[in-house]
Amino acid sequence: MTDTSVKLETSAGGDDSRPPVLVRSPRRKPPSGSPVTRWILRILAVGYVLGLVALPVGTVIEHTFENGLEPVLESLRNPDLQSAARLGVFVAVISVVINTVFGVGISILIVRYRFPGRRLLNAIIDLPVSISPIVVGIALIFVYGSGGWFGPALTSMGIQIIFATPALILATVIVALPLVVREVIPVLEEAGTEQDQAAQSLGANAFQRFVRITLPTIKWALAYGVVLSLARSLGEFGAVRVVSGSVAGESQTLTLFVNDSYQEFGAQAEQDAFTAAFLLMCVAVLFIVIIALLRPKEQTK
């Protein structure tokens, strides 16, 4: 084994205030342990990942195309699938926009200001990821449903939330709530307030400082958070399942379409389910690739 190790280096110059830059190299030091242990560990780890993830994913692709391309194209022409895809994308995009605006705003408040309840606020934002999506769904029904706390008042104003698009958006916003915040906060914390103060002494007002300093500082973290949120939002199923009613062509998102078609137990219905699942899977893999590309950029910032 040749030793091509690269040590962890701090950035050159030594005189500056930047944190040490992690030089990530695949072979920093020869791996420890005997060759036999190493092989056992390697096979165990790779085998576990491949068996648990890659194998099932491969099977679904095989299932989708087992009768050739024509049934897949037939599914794609299904108007229910098309409208489910449109609604799914619409709900996801609106939710991501809401979570981005909220996420950036609340991150700035949490990092730059001290106020009572700040830590509590920070903890509440994380709460939704630890709650079952089904619980999120029924909670929305309890508050906004026709028999819920605000339901009657909303109905009298002519606003329907549950079993309509607003509920889909609300449910999706909740389950993806912390994703932007968790990416943006560390970057803002590291950047500090000096650049902001410098801009202020150069004459920039609050809006100019946000656009010219804060936004460029967090842009990669924000992009990363947005992609994560988009993936989560497009893929949300449980919470949406509870509040949607899943009427084909009306309140059925693509994930609901997968479920409903699969439950129908017809050959074409099953094919529809697999085709929709395949589409979602392609989007998921695309997101993973984008995230992998964004990650190093974020680190070099």
Partner: protein, 325 residues
């Protein structure tokens, strides 16, 4: 007066950062705020800049009441210890920032920025990002950025504090030259007395939230108002119950009426200078003291100093001494 600060008080919680501070800074001078860390000098500078606001008191900049003006409405350039470079902008865009905010025409911005980059010797780095510059270069960029908007006052907060000794010395000379060319009223904060003595026209010594003394470097060095200023501005030692500068002690081979007898205990050579440590036999005050004396090598050789030798010490003519309080 370019800057007039009156009756400033500032607390952070229980900590009194500034207590009833009055200060006037004349136009076109280079003034140093000197003092130990935590003494309130940075707070004072930040209050002048509008980055902090005082609890009581007023700030006047070029005759305008600025106490409650936000920083962007004061004609003040600020340079931070850690540069506060806009990391996502090139050197050029960093310097152009204030001008872009003021919506100056592109051509004018270009002309002004290039002039400034030349002034700070960064013209060939215009397209680089701050991360590609050394600390000293980043600080020069920050200075050019602050100067770009033609501020009436330039404020520097420990501007060389994050740099290593060599670069610090270079930048110090360079700041002095720059000031001689531009004559913009400048205040800089430092805890390094050598830096303050070398660069500034006037020094304000601040300690414990109060101004201890204000004056020219020579005034402060030669006529310190109190112990603190004397100790802070240079080396001191005690002879016969008084604070003395070690280079102001005369070493004699023979007894004189105003001299105190002493024995050399240790000699240390530091380059061309010799430090002699001695023990007095108890002078007029009757106290035994252990002063040290700074001599040149030739002086030490002429006196044939060596440990154990008996000599007589007295303060040289026109010395600055202070009774130890």
């Amino acid at each position: 007066m370019s800057i007039a600060v009156t009756g400033i008080n500032k607390r952070f919680g229980d900590f009194v950062a500034l207590s009833d501070v009055d200060l006037e800074v004349p136009t076109g001078r280079l003034t140093a705020l000197l003092g130990p860390s935590g003494g309130g000098k940075s707070t004072l500078l930040r209050i002048i800049a509008g980055l902090e606001f005082p609890d009581t008191g007023t700030v006047e900049i070029e005759g305008v009441h600025a106490t409650w003006l936000p920083p962007q409405k004061r004609s003040v350039g600020f340079v931070f210890q850690h540069y506060a470079a806009f990391k996502h902008l090139s050197v050029y865009r960093n310097v152009a920032f204030g001008l872009e905010i003021r919506k100056k025409p592109k051509a004018e911005i270009r002309k002004r920025v290039m002039e400034l980059l030349e002034l700070v010797h960064l013209e060939q780095f215009a397209d680089r990002l701050p991360s590609q510059l050394s600390g000293g270069q980043r600080q020069r960029m920050a200075l050019a950025r602050a100067l770009a908007v033609q501020p009436e006052v330039l404020l520097l907060d420990e501007p060389f504090g994050a740099l290593d000794a060599q670069v610090r010395k270079e930048l110090r000379d360079w700041l002095r030259n720059l000031h001689d060319e531009m004559h913009v009223t400048t205040i800089f904060v430092t805890h390094d007395q050598e830096e303050a003595l070398e660069v500034s026209d006037e020094i304000v010594v601040i300690n414990g939230g109060k101004i201890e003394q204000t004056g020219s470097p020579d005034d402060l060095y030669d006529k310190p108002a109190n112990d603190f200023v004397m100790k802070f501005l240079g080396p001191v030692t005690t002879l016969d119950g008084r604070l003395v500068r070690p280079h102001d002690i005369e070493v004699l081979r023979a007894a004189e009426s105003d001299a105190v007898g002493a024995t050399v205990t240790k000699l240390t050579r530091v380059g061309f200078e010799v430090r002699a440590e001695l023990r007095t036999a108890g002078g007029r005050s009757g106290e035994v003291s252990e002063p040290w004396v700074q001599l040149t090598r030739s002086q030490a050789e002429a006196l044939a100093l060596e440990p154990g030798r008996e000599v007589w010490l007295r303060t040289s003519s026109a010395p600055q001494t202070l009774a130890v309080s």
